[in-house]
Symmetry: C2
Subunit: 438 residues, 2 copies
């Protein structure tokens, strides 16, 4: 058996990944993790804000005193105890018994990523269409690509997904003879855009999907990380049916345990459990017990406040640095929560082409093209503010601004060809009105 034959079998994975090859993405993150580089590229929570000694004590006890169950096999749906605690967590956001939420319909997963993958496995066949915000979570694009589905992006503005654009995307999909299987949306503190779907638009989006018979997959990893008061209630709290609600403890506790969940419509709960068993047999009983213990014995609501405070300070540092330092013509979003700012570069700049120069200047970010399935996002970048402390954020933005100033100066001298390659190659104009997010 030769490598060629293996390649032949697995060609679907050999495609270029979302405008960057997998090795480019890996290389970016490898370089970004060097200590001399200010990384605005990641999406990591600031774990050091946790009381690690106390967490360690709880985790040690789970093995020492309850190892015969926590270190043993478990069931595919996840433990009853954790599913009950998850319902308490969701109730904080307004998803409670009054809208039919129940531990019976919760399926515990290996982080939010597997939640999404299970839904894709259940619903997507090759060639199916998924509607998703543009830009959207890069890991979701990976799932949809692995399922050989097509992604149609729906543009956003500062109030999130644009309802008229959603209607248009549904109609266009239907005209092409296909059917969209679901809308994938991160309505609150969106990754990567940092925007939030407004109260008024939430009902409109749900109505549009209901009329079109379109399922909604609501991904909500950041909803409890708001800095400026409470966000609008989740879509799932407004509808009993037709909405899959996905979340994770990766941002509110710790990603290293890999615990997420799906609140599923009752009719498909069993199928998700079977798919979960086929994929991983069961989510780690030890990790589930760890999250359960954290939610039962530790002041997790207080910890949420700590995370919010830390991230608010860092967001403020980033917004101030952007205002003070960015070259004219740069715009960015103002996130009310979450981990990210989405920036729009001055005319002619190409965020991906600029990466090597940024790395040389010891700053890293993710180019916007990674968050689109269609080659858009050339003029965009995602900037993370949850992990680096405020002074490093300012230093990172300063380095980035310097690189951009240099690019702009080079463009003036050498003309439009600098960094202009990918625009021509993808056929996408970064000024395209479809990219309405300023």
């Amino acid at each position: 058996m030769t490598g060629t034959t293996l390649d032949d079998y697995t060609d679907r994975y050999a495609q270029r990944v979302r405008g960057m090859t997998a090795s480019e993405i890996r290389a970016l993150f490898a370089v970004a993790s060097r200590p001399e580089v200010v990384s605005l590229a990641g999406g990591a929570p600031y774990i050091s804000a946790l009381p690690l000694d106390a967490v360690g004590e709880v985790l040690g006890q789970l093995a020492a005193e309850h190892g015969a169950t926590t270190l043993q096999y478990g069931i595919g749906q996840g433990t009853q105890e954790l599913r009950e605690r998850i319902c308490e967590v969701m109730a904080l956001s307004g998803i409670d018994a009054s809208c039919g939420a129940s531990p019976e319909d919760v399926v515990v997963t290996v982080g939010g990523q597997q939640a999404l993958d299970l839904i894709a496995r259940l619903f997507l066949d090759p060639g199916d269409v998924v509607l998703a915000e543009g830009p959207t979570y890069v890991g979701a694009l990976g799932v949809f690509q692995a399922a050989e589905a097509r992604v149609t992006h729906v543009p956003m503005d500062a109030d999130g997904l644009i309802p008229e654009a959603l209607e248009e995307a549904i109609a266009e999909t239907a005209r092409s003879g296909r059917r969209a299987k679901f809308l994938y949306t991160i309505p609150t503190y969106q990754n990567p855009a940092g925007v939030t779907l407004s109260e008024e638009r939430r009902e409109r989006v749900l109505d549009i999907c209901e009329r079109a018979g379109l399922l909604v997959v609501e991904d909500d990893p950041y909803g409890q990380l708001g800095f400026d008061g409470e966000p609008p209630a989740p879509l799932r709290s407004r509808r009993r049916d037709g909405v899959f609600y996905l979340s994770t403890f990766s941002k509110t506790f710790a990603p290293g345990l890999r615990v997420g969940w799906i609140l599923a419509p009752h009719a498909v709960r069993d199928k998700l459990v079977i798919a979960n068993e086929a994929q991983v047999l069961c989510p780690s009983p030890y990790a589930q017990a760890a999250v359960t213990a954290y939610l039962t014995t530790m002041p997790w609501r207080q910890q949420l406040k700590v995370y919010r405070e830390v991230y608010r300070e860092r967001r403020d540092a980033m917004l101030a640095a952007l205002t003070d330092l960015m070259p004219e013509g740069t715009t960015w979003t103002t996130p009310g929560g979450g981990l990210f700012v989405w920036a729009n570069l001055p005319e002619g700049l190409d965020a991906k082409a600029m990466v090597p120069r940024a790395i040389a200047a010891r700053v890293a970010y993710v180019p916007g093209i990674g968050f689109y399935a269609d080659g858009s996002g050339v003029a965009n970048m995602r900037l993370n503010f949850s992990f680096p402390p405020p002074d490093r954020i300012r230093e990172g933005v300063r380095r980035l601004a310097g690189v951009m100033e240099q690019e702009i100066a080079m463009r003036r001298v050498f003309g439009a060809t600098v960094g202009g390659g990918p625009v021509a190659a993808t056929g996408v104009d970064p000024r395209d009105p479809r990219t309405r997010l300023a």
Copy 2:
């Protein structure tokens, strides 16, 4: 969105699962876990044989002292440290640098189950054929079913997979105009049959696969749990190419952490990593650190000996009880390691139909039909000896023998219809020579 539409989307999961519905399997395990029932149904290691206090101390320290990395996101391939330790573990079985094994080609997974699922995702398209021992691991059948692949079983005898039968299955698949994508095999202490592919057959099986251009997926969860000396070396130790080697820490350390791995041919390593990232982003860094610490700081080779001793005693107890108590006409395998005995019931008995009577007599097992994709195994059952202590094993076999005696007596009185339904329904004769495993 109604339940009907959801059902419509997900019909492929609504099929009866391998001769038992998912709810039947769940109900069986729920009942089997009642304290008054002797469960010979599970596949759980005896976790209480671990030094849980010491394990707890190690796990606690990992969070308290290294939480900033162990509780954070990791990389899709798994940590370098764990991949190096995994190579040390494989070297014990003869898979080392001399046959090209390297940490670079190890991909860490969420248990052995996800290892298998990733391979299926990479290689299988709907309608593809997979060759697998008959009977085979029930979780593998779940993976292949989820991938909409067809399983062709290759019969075994006391020396494992029968090479001539493998050649015949390959030829028959080709005659049907299909191509088998890979051979899935558990050559050592097979689950559920308990048999081991002999030394001499290992080379023949590899030669046959090589000639046919057939990949080999070698699943080896039990290879280090031999009771009667060392088993023949793994297939992967004999060939650099064409063999995917899968294993897990579930049986040699603890399943609750969900850590397994693939040693992949170098040419597809990257694709497995991308598939892993799409599915779970990364295997739990905390669980990986836990296994790394276990392999670095604790006497794990000594612990392997402890497990072997415990399981050998329990296997002996089971074989003795079967010899002493089983009705005439019952036969069973003699496992040299692992967790299971495979039994063949006296003529006319139906293992699945007998389950409710067995549960009423407070003993549980898994009927053989669950381990075949084609309805075979009606007259078989899998008996686990790793979890219950020796006296419970004997009591369980005593109860089971009582139920079987009763069934045999009823058949004498009422004729062949008792429990005979499923045989007619599946069209499979349990005496079929294809089921050559006595």
